[in-house]
Amino acid sequence: MPLLEARSLSKSFGGLQALSKVSLTIERGQIYGLIGPNGAGKTTLFNLLTGLYRPDEGSVVLDGMEVTGRKPHVIVHAGMARTFQNIRLFAHMTAIENVMVGRHLRTKAGALGAILRGPRTMGEERAIRTRARELLEYVGVARHSHAQAKNLSYGDQRRLEIARALATDPKLLALDEPAAGMNATETAALRGLMDQIRADGVTILLIEHDVKLVMGLCDRVAVLDYGKCIAEGAPALVQKDAAVIEAYLGGALP
């Protein structure tokens, strides 16, 4: 059974059709890329998959569970976590606090636990903190654990966001342009991180503009243009697809 199955998703805003009947299937252990010109609908698709928007039609099934139109926190519970194109960290919390928030849905202590601070609650808190530290190490920003998130460098912020998403124990990690604004070295490091994440059992869905990164890293790629999926398959094949070339370059090469 595929990990994620999106069928015929459509979404319009007012008169603008942002997505029409887009389908994709992601298998476990893949790194799946989503590319396309600006405005093609990639982030809209992301937002539909992760519950920020409700689709006008279509369905999303995650690991066998129907999650179409469910609220974001339900989808995260089901195992899909995301990062944001514009980095949405909790700016004034420290790095480690950000990641600790990511552990919220996998832990239980409520108000009563917080007030009484019994052994179970304190044990859970320790576990949360330990896991957060581990994740910060994992993505390579452990030295900034106690710095405010907004004071981290751009690349570190992106990695922190990934750590935070990983804290939710996702099956599918959806990354929205994680390499945006990064130089070649940072991108290579990011690629290494993503390989590691995949190796550790998390499937990745990736929106990216960096063609080299996508082609080198992804197992399969889907191309969106004007809200429609115009090509889907192995990167090498998609690269040569006429429709894709036309979408990016505006016309077939002579």
């Binding site: 519950g51 974001p72 552990r103 808190e125």
Partner: protein, 368 residues
């Protein structure tokens, strides 16, 4: 917290035992305060401090809603009212019911929490400004109902309010009467002081623990960026509702205590102005910072008396009469305080480390 304070001021370097000495000093001062006040000023001041402690509890309750979770509630006093009236109706000649104290407070808390959930469920998904107005409306609705539910069935006794409310009875002692314990004479005001002080300290501990917990982090995350919080799996609706309900509970308990202390409640104690005053305590003291909020409450609760002793004589001196009576002066200062704090020192008089960063960095561009 005292230890943290002292560490912050590097007093620890002075003496190894400094934190303990500091805590002991504070404890002793608090213990003898009512006697010191009565001797130095008057018993009225002990009463003022008693009310100030009630406000401190209220302010901490509102702080959970406004300060931690970032939800502007302008009708918070409604929960105070609900708690007060629950107590009054169940412990006075009005219905002839006289439930014991230890039953009444939890009931008041539960009723207030219920109203908190009732109000919060449909409205917490609204954006900040809309939520503010809706809560304001709710506060007014409660007040109007309290004022008018005396016909055809007399539930609240309308504008006249409920009086002859049972005093607090604990350990066989009637708190309105002077008691003799271990050879020391404790007038009613002093008895209430110790009870309220205990409850205030309890509230402080609860709030500090809440802040530094999984729930506290969730509240702050929602305050920082609700969409990101949702994307991290936080059920923001329920978590916000929890903040609301907790705030309401504190209000309800404080309301019950108020009822018992004053012996009398009426709708006019629970208007918009009171909601704004509690908000002012939170904002002025330091939004989101428990210590700041307590400071704000103590300052603003004692302000009218201070004004009465300073502003009035000063005006008499200069103008020959009092132009601005303490009440009007107080409200004027509240309004001014809200404006000035937001413009000049949004973190409040005693900001929390996080909040100060948040609010004063408003004009600095975010690092993207």
């Amino acid at each position: 917290m005292v230890t943290r304070l002292l560490r912050h001021w590097n007093v620890l370097k002075v003496h190894r035992h400094a934190p303990w000495i500091g805590t002991a000093l504070v404890a002793v001062s608090l213990a003898i305060l009512p006697f010191a006040l009565e001797a130095g000023l008057s018993r009225t001041w002990v009463r003022i401090v008693d009310f100030a402690l009630l406000y401190a509890m209220l302010a901490m309750g509102l702080n959970i809603v406004v300060g931690f979770a970032g939800l502007l509630d302008l009708g918070y006093i409604a929960f105070y009212a609900v708690g007060a009236y629950s107590y009054a109706l169940l412990a006075s000649p009005h219905f002839g019911l006289h439930l014991p104290f230890w039953v009444l407070l939890p009931i008041g808390a539960l009723v207030a929490a219920f109203f908190g959930i009732l109000l919060g469920s449909p409205t917490l998904r609204l954006r900040g400004d809309y939520l503010a107005i809706v809560t304001l409306g709710f506060g007014e609705i409660i007040r109007i109902f309290l004022n008018n539910l005396n016909a055809p069935v007399n539930i609240t006794n309308g504008p006249q309010g409920v009086n002859r409310i049972d005093p607090i009875q604990l350990g066989g002692m009637d708190f309105t009467k002077t008691q003799e314990i271990l050879g020391i004479t404790f007038p009613g005001t002093h008895l209430h002081y110790y009870l309220f002080l205990l409850l205030t300290i309890l509230t402080i501990v609860i709030c500090i623990r809440l802040e530094d917990s999984r729930i506290g982090r969730a509240w702050i995350a929602i305050r920082e960026d609700e969409i990101a919080a949702q994307a991290m799996g936080i059920n923001t609706r329920n978590v916000k509702l929890l903040a609301f309900a907790m705030g309401a509970t504190f209000g309800g308990v404080a309301g019950g205590l108020f009822s018992a202390f004053q012996g009398f409640v009426s709708p006019e104690s629970f208007g918009l102005l009171e909601s704004i005053m509690v908000l002012c305590m939170v904002v002025l003291g330091g939004m989101g910072h428990v210590a700041g909020v307590v400071l704000g409450a103590l300052l603003l609760a004692t302000l009218p008396e201070v004004l009465r002793h300073t502003a009035s004589p000063v005006q008499q001196q200069i103008f020959g009469k009092v132009i601005l009576d303490p009440e009007s002066l107080r409200m004027l200062l509240f309004g001014l305080a809200l404006i000035l704090v937001m413009l000049l020192r949004p973190g409040g008089l005693w900001p929390s480390p996080i909040r100060r960063r948040e609010l004063t960095n408003a004009t600095a561009p975010a690092k993207v």
